[in-house]
C-alpha cells in the first residue's frame, strides 16, 4: 500500500509537545510549517517510498572497493537535494534554511517512514554538518559546509572499531601530526554507515583517532575530518574493503573502512587535540534524537500497513455481526493491537517533538537562563526519546507482523522488512542500555534535579486532564520516588539494573502527559482514545515493571549464571 504522510499528526505533535507557539518560533508561521510538512510528505510518498523494497531486495553492493547503491537511489537522492531538503535545518550562513529542529524532526519522520535505509545517508550528513559547524576552523567550515548542506557531499561518523563499540576508551585508530597542521590517519573502522557509496561526489569522514602522545582512555581521543577526495582532487588514502550482511536496512551500505594502507590518510583536526569525544557528543546527541524519530517513522509505517490490511482481510465473525466473515479490524484482539500501536507511536512522536523543541529552546530562547533550562531539558529527554521510541518501534513492527498473520511472514508483504529494519534502532547511536545508564547517572540530577521536577510537573498537569488529579498526582509521585532512589546511588548494581525499566516508565509518564495535552488540543476523537488507552494500560504496566525492577536487582546481585 502507499504511504500516507501523517501530516496532521505531525503538526499536532509540533503544536502540543513541540510548543510551536513559543516566541522563538515566531519566525515560522503555522501555514509555512504545514506547507513544508505536506510538501516533504509528498516527496517521501511519491519518490522515496517506492525505493524501500527495492533497496531491501537489491542491497548496496561492493565491487573492487566501489559501492553501488540500489537502483533508483542515486537519482532520487539528487532530486531530493535539488529540492532543498538536505539543507532544511542546515546553517543559514552556509546555504541552509536554518529551520528549527522541530521541522527537521517532522521531515525526518517522513523520509524514514518512506525508506529508513535511504534516509540514513542525510541523517549522517546532518550530524557531520553539526560537528563541523560547532567545532571546526573557519577554513574547514567555509570549504566543507556549503557542499554538505546542499547534499553534493555527504558525511559519516567513524567511531566503532572491532574491539571498541559502546566503549571508546580502547580506540586504536592512530593520528600523527604532519607538521603543516594536518594529520596522518591510520587504522580500521567498522559499521560505517554510507562510508562509501555512489550518490555523492565526495564523502567527508569524521574519524576518531588517537595521537601517539595522547593520554590513555577517552581523554586521549581526537576528531579528524578525513575527506574521500582531498581539496586538490586526489583520492585520499582510505577505502571501504567490505560491506556487512545485515538483518535489515539492506539499502544502506554498512562499511568496513581502512585508513592509511599506503602511509596514511590526510586529516584535519576538528576542535582541540584530545577533545574529540566532546565534539563527537555534539553530533551524537542530535543523532540520538533522530534515531528515536526513525523509530517513530517505522512504527507509523507499520501501523498504517496494519490498519489497511485489517480493513481488507476478512476472517471469522464478530459477535454483533449478521453474517459472513468480518474484516479483522472488527475483532477486539486485533483492534486492541491497533490501538496500542497507534498510542505508542503517538507517544514516541510527542517525546521526540518535545526533545526537538527543547533543543530549539537551548539555541533560540531569548534569555540565557531559558536557554540553559531548555538545554537541560533536552539533555534529560534525549535518552528517553531515543530509547523509548526505538523500543516501541520493535514492538509495533512485531505487532504489524502479527496482524498480517501468515502474510506478515512473507517478505513480499513488506512488514517483515520494517521489523528487520527496526531491530538496529535500540542498538546504534548508543544502545538503549547506555541511554538508561546516561539517564540514571547524569540526567536525573541535572540542575540539582529541577529539570526532572519541572518536566514531571508539566506531565502531572497533562495526566490530570485524562486521569484526574488524584491518579495523576499518585503516578507522578511514584515515578519521582523511583527516580530519587535510583539517582541516590547511580553507580550501584541495583540502580544500573533497574535503569532500563525506570527509563521506560519515566518515558511513559512524560509521554502520557503529552498525549493528554494533545488530545485536549483537538478535543477528543481517536486522539483522546489513544491518550486514555496509553494512560490506562501502557503506563501502569511500565510502572509495575519499574517498581518490581528494584527488587529484581537484588536477586541479580547474588545470581550466579551457570
Amino acid at each position: 500500500m502507499t504511504y500516507q504522510p501523517p501530516v496532521s499528526q505531525i503538526l499536532l505533535a509540533m503544536q502540543s509537545a513541540g510548543k510551536f507557539g513559543a516566541p522563538h518560533y515566531a519566525d515560522l508561521s503555522l501555514d509555512d510549517a504545514q506547507a513544508i510538512i505536506s510538501e516533504a510528505g509528498r516527496f517521501a510518498a511519491e519518490r522515496i517510498a517506492p525505493l524501500n523494497q527495492v533497496g531491501d531486495r537489491l542491497p548496496a553492493s561492493i565491487n573492487d572497493g566501489k559501492v553501488t547503491t540500489p537502483p533508483g537511489w542515486r537519482v532520487t537522492y539528487r532530486d531530493w537535494c535539488a529540492a532543498g531538503w538536505n539543507g532544511l535545518a542546515g546553517p543559514a550562513d552556509h546555504g541552509g534554511q536554518g529551520l528549527p529542529m522541530l521541522m527537521a524532526v517532522g521531515c525526518t519522520e517522513l523520509w524514514n517512514s518512506a525508506s529508513m535505509a535511504f534516509a540514513l545517508c542525510p541523517l549522517l550528513t546532518a550530524g557531520a554538518i553539526e560537528a563541523i559547524a560547532a567545532h571546526a576552523s573557519q577554513d574547514l567550515k567555509d570549504f566543507y559546509l556549503p557542499k554538505l548542506v546542499s547534499g553534493e557531499w555527504t558525511g559519516t561518523m567513524n567511531l566503532t572499531e572491532p574491539q571498541a563499540g559502546s566503549d571508546l576508551s580502547d580506540l586504536r585508530c592512530r593520528a600523527e601530526r604532519l607538521g603543516d597542521g594536518t594529520y596522518s590517519i591510520t587504522g580500521s573502522k567498522i559499521f560505517i554507515t554510507y562510508g562509501e557509496h555512489d550518490c555523492a561526489s565526495n564523502i567527508v569522514h569524521l574519524v576518531l583517532a588517537r595521537l601517539a602522545d595522547a593520554p590513555a582512555g577517552t581523554r586521549g581521543i581526537s576528531l579528524f575530518l578525513v575527506p574521500k577526495f582531498l581539496p586538490d582532487g586526489t583520492h585520499n588514502d582510505l577505502r571501504c574493503h567490505s560491506l556487512e550482511h545485515k538483518l535489515g536496512i539492506h539499502g544502506s551500505p554498512t562499511c568496513a573502512m581502512t585508513y592509511g594502507d599506503n602511509g596514511g590518510a590526510k586529516g584535519w583536526l576538528i576542535g582541540e587535540e584530545n577533545r574529540g569525544l566532546n565534539c563527537m557528543f555534539t553530533m551524537m546527541n542530535n543523532a540520538r534524537l533522530l534515531v528515536g524519530v526513525q523509530g517513530v517513522a517505522l512504527a507509523e509505517r507499520a501501523t498504517q500497513m496494519s490498519v489497511a490490511y485489517a480493513r481488507e482481510r476478512r476472517q471469522g465473525s464478530v459477535p454483533d455481526q449478521r453474517a459472513g466473515a468480518s474484516a479483522i479490524i472488527r475483532h477486539p484482539d486485533v483492534k486492541r493491537m491497533l490501538l496500542e500501536m497507534r498510542a505508542k507511536t503517538a507517544a514516541a512522536r510527542l517525546l521526540c517533538m518535545a526533545t526537538a523543541s527543547s533543543i530549539d529552546g537551548s539555541l533560540r530562547a531569548k534569555s540565557a537562563d531559558d536557554r540553559r533550562l531548555a538545554h537541560a531539558r533536552a539533555s534529560l529527554l534525549t535518552p528517553l526519546a531515543k530509547a523509548y521510541s526505538t523500543e516501541i518501534a520493535v514492538e509495533v513492527t512485531s505487532s504489524a507482523i502479527q496482524i498480517h498473520g501468515g502474510m506478515g511472514y512473507i517478505e513480499e508483504t513488506g512488514v517483515a522488512q520494517l521489523y528487520r529494519d527496526a531491530r538496529i534502532l535500540p542498538i546504534y547511536e548508543g544502545t538503549n542500555g547506555i541511554q538508561a545508564i546516561d539517564l540514571v547517572s547524569r540526567k536525573l540530577r541535572l540542575e540539582d534535579g529541577e529539570t526532572l521536577l519541572d518536566t514531571l510537573k508539566s506531565s502531572q498537569q497533562g495526566l490530570t486532564i485524562v486521569a484526574g488529579e488524584p491518579l495523576a498526582s499518585r503516578i507522578v509521585s511514584e515515578i519521582s520516588e523511583l527516580a530519587k532512589t535510583l539517582s541516590k546511588a547511580p553507580d550501584s548494581v541495583q540502580s544500573l539494573a533497574a535503569a532500563m525499566p525506570l527509563l521506560r516508565a519515566l518515558a511513559a509518564v512524560i509521554a502520557g502527559g503529552y498525549l493528554a495535552e494533545s488530545a485536549a488540543l483537538v478535543q477528543g476523537g481517536a486522539t483522546e482514545s489513544e491518550a486514555r488507552y496509553f494512560i490506562t494500560v501502557e503506563l501502569p504496566t511500565a510502572m509495575a515493571a519499574a517498581k518490581s525492577a528494584l527488587s529484581g536487582a537484588e536477586i541479580l546481585a547474588t545470581y550466579n549464571l551457570q
Copy 2:
C-alpha cells in the same frame, strides 16, 4: 558457538512440572530418560546444529516442481531416522517406541534448538501419524503408519487457502466421491510446510476439502489422505507450484500446492465425511504444544549464545572492578537481560512439560476419571503453552540481538536468524490471539471451572515456596477474579479484547508456581534466582497488564480508528 544440549534442565522440567514420578510413567526409568535425552542432545548438537546457518543462507529451492532441501539436509534426515528418532513417540503397533509425550517434548526442544527449519519436517509427520492413528481406517493405518513412523515417508497438514487462514469456514478445496470409496480432490493450498521436498520417498498430505453436498461452514469440511505417490507407484495429480520467500526458517520449504490440475488428485477419507475439522483438531492440539516447544528451543539457543558472547565481549568497566574493560556479563543491565531470558525460557519449558504430562495422563492414567481430568488440564494448558512460549521466544531472541549489540545485527553472528525464525511461532498453528480466544471462551470453564481452580491451587502451593503464603494467595485470587470476569461473558468485546493479556498473566502465574517447585527440587542455586526473579518481576508486570486490559477494553469499544 556450539549448541550445548540443556540435558539437566530438561530432566528437571520433566521431574517437576512433568510429574515424571507419576505411576503412569513407571515403564520408563529416570536413567533411561536421561540416556535418551543425552543421546538426542548429542545428535542435535553434532549433526543437526551445523546445518542451521546453511539452511538459512541456502534456502530450500524449487525447480520445475521439484524442491531441493539445503546441502546436508537429506543425509542428516536419513541418519536421524535410521537412529530411530522419528519413531520415538510413534505407536508401538506400527513400529514406534510408544514413549510418552514428555519424552517427545524433551527431544523436540533439542531438535528445534539445533535447527527449527530442519525439525519442522518430522514435527508435521508426527501430526499426520497422530491423525491417521486416531481416525483412519485400519487399511490406511496398516499401509501408511509404518513408513511414517520410520520416517521413510513424511506428512503434511493442508489447511490454509488464500482466503481461509485462521477461519476455515470459507474453505473452497473440493472433494468428489469416486464411487469406489476414494475421492477426487481439487483446489489450491498455501503455506504447506514441507509440502514438497527431497528427503523422503513419499509425502502423505492430509488435506481439508469440501464435498459438493456438504453443509456450509466448518461443519462441511472433510479430511483426506492424499499421497504424493499412489500405492501403485504412480504420481498423484498434485504439485508444488512455488515456494514462499519468508522472513525466517528458510531451510523449510513453505509450499503453494495445487491439487487436481489434471482431473483430480486421488484421496482417501480420514474419519467421517464432514467431520474433518474434528480429526484435524486431534493433530492440531499436540502441534500447538510442539510449537510452544519450538519457542522454548529458540529461546534456549538464543540465551546460550548470549551468555557465551557476554562472557567474551569486553566493554566498559563495572563499579567493583580494578582496571580494564569488563566482560559485559558483569554489567548489571546485561546480566538483568540474561536472567530475564533464562527465567522466561525455564518458565516456558515448564509450561510445555506440564502440558505434555497432562496429555500423557489423559492417555495413560489408570482410572477413567483421572484420564478425563488430565485431558481437561491438557486442554487448559495447551493455549497457554503455545502462546506464552512463542511470545517469550520473540522477546528472548530480541534480547539476544541486543546483548550482541552491532554484531547481533550482522547475519553471520547467527542470533538474527533465531530472531527471524522465531517470528512465525506466534502466528502458525492458530495465532496467539486465537489461543487467547480459545482460553477465554472454552478452556476457563472446563469441568465447570474446576480444571482452572485445581491448576491454580497447585500454583498457589508452588508460589508460596518463593513468595510466601499471603502474596501467593493474593496473586492467585487476583488472577481467579480476572478469569471469572472474562469467562462470564466470553464473547463480549471486553473479554475478547482482554483475552491476550489475561492469557499472559495466567501463564505467568502457573509457570511461576512450576518454577518455584523446580527450584525447591534442586534446592536453590541459579534455578532459585530465576524463580524469584520471575515471580518478583515478570509476574507482577504481566498481572498489571492484565488488570488494566479490562479498562483498556472499554476504551476500545468506542475507539473509532481513523
